[in-house]
Amino acid sequence: MEKKLYNELVSSISIELIKASTHLEDSLVNAIKEMKSVFERAVAESDKETREHHRTEASLLVLTMILKNLKLAAEKQIPMCQDTGMLVAFADIGPDAPFRLEELEKVITEGAALAFDKGHFRHSIVTDPLFKRENTQSNLPFVFHVATQQQKGLSLHFLLKGFGSENCSAMRMLNPTATPSAVIDAVCEMVKTAGGKPCPPIVVGVGIGGTADMSAVLAKRALLREVGVHHADSEYCELEKDLLVKLQTTDIGPGGFGGPLTALGVSVEYMATHIAGLPVSVAISCWADRKAHVYL
């Protein structure tokens, strides 16, 4: 890779990752604001002194604090959440790629390290997951998914994946004859199990098809999409809309206090699968669905 391109990529990656830690995309902020106005109405309309009123008030306070927190993070230029996550990187590489894969890995490592340092990210990564669990003191390594893309160039996508929500990831291997409504039920059940743990309101990514492992990657990819933008395929677009409606009935609510709304968005990605199965994975993001994109 040419030195100029290398330096440009390192710099863009670093800038975008820091920005992701301090700012949410506009559509997500708007979704939080819209949710807040729904809870304001619910508080006004509920009978005072009832449990319903108190829990809706608590949920409303959660949303108020989230918006205040976003303002403070932007003003102070510090991460909105102390869990700056494990970095998950997706590289979609076009046919004209002027670099080797290990060079790309090095570029991402360097850009990320710069962001982690300058952006005051927490060092949240340990070496060995079971025995040593020693902090790497660098917030590295990162998780790397590589794929090809048809168009020229390079698309890099990043998630700063917090682990409160990551711990709520789940998978079901459904029967191939399962209906869309069975898929919706399975997703809702997995989200219900997560309950108040992943810092709701949540953004939900669903991966359908492939193998067990690939459905989990697809669910993560689904989280990369801008909140509110639906799948291009009309059937999957409908599935997303139906899922969103159904997820709102889980009564988890902001902070887990309950209420009429729980999810800020849901997106689905799918791929081919085997005649014998229908893998469904759920990736949950807290309201701080922090993502970044760099294109070449």
């Binding site: 449990r51 108190h54 829990r55 008030e57 608590a58 306070l61 959660v62 604090m65 989230i66 205040k68 927190n69 976003l70 403070l72 993070a73 102070k76 230029q77 510090i78 991460p79 909105m80 959440c81 102390q82 869990d83 700056t84 005051h120 990210f121 927490r122 060092h123 949240s124 902090n135 003191q137 917090g162 409160g164 711990n167 309950g195 108040g196 743990k197 992943p198 810092c199 709701p200 902070g255 887990g256 206090f257 309950g258 807290c286 309201w287 701080a288």
Partner: protein
Amino acid sequence: MKHYRLPLSKEERSSLRIYDQISLSGSILVGRDKVHQKLEELISLGKELPISLTDQVIYYMGPARKKEGDVIGSCGPTTSARMDPFTPMLMDHGLMVTIGKGPRSASVSEAITKHQGLYLVAFGGCGALYAGCVKQMKPIAFEELGPEALIEIIVEDFPVIVGIDSTGNSTFL
């Protein structure tokens, strides 16, 4: 939002009810997974703890790195449920109040009722907000754990909601 000075007296703890929105000022211990594991180890070996837990408050948190000149980095709560297996034991050793996010197990509710303690819910993901409430920070033990070390913070107007009250009532159904 009613304001309280820490530590909370038994009367204050007993007077609070679920969903009460309160703010706290005073000293809070900070520890998460590893600290709990280490404290349990010390207790089971009959060894002395690095700090007395009597009437203490523990906040489940691991801060992000701080900017030069700041007291602390971004510092919101982590998921309380992971600390559930350790909480009854720590409450038997004097701990009265825990602060984190999300639901707790039935055994934590029982321990809270037994000791007339409290579980307070902090606002998940609001790290920048809570950083502004921390006026002092001091390391206590296990510094080698980096962001997971046991520290003490002095807070002012630290906002929380009562999640489990001293009678065992919980906001999480």
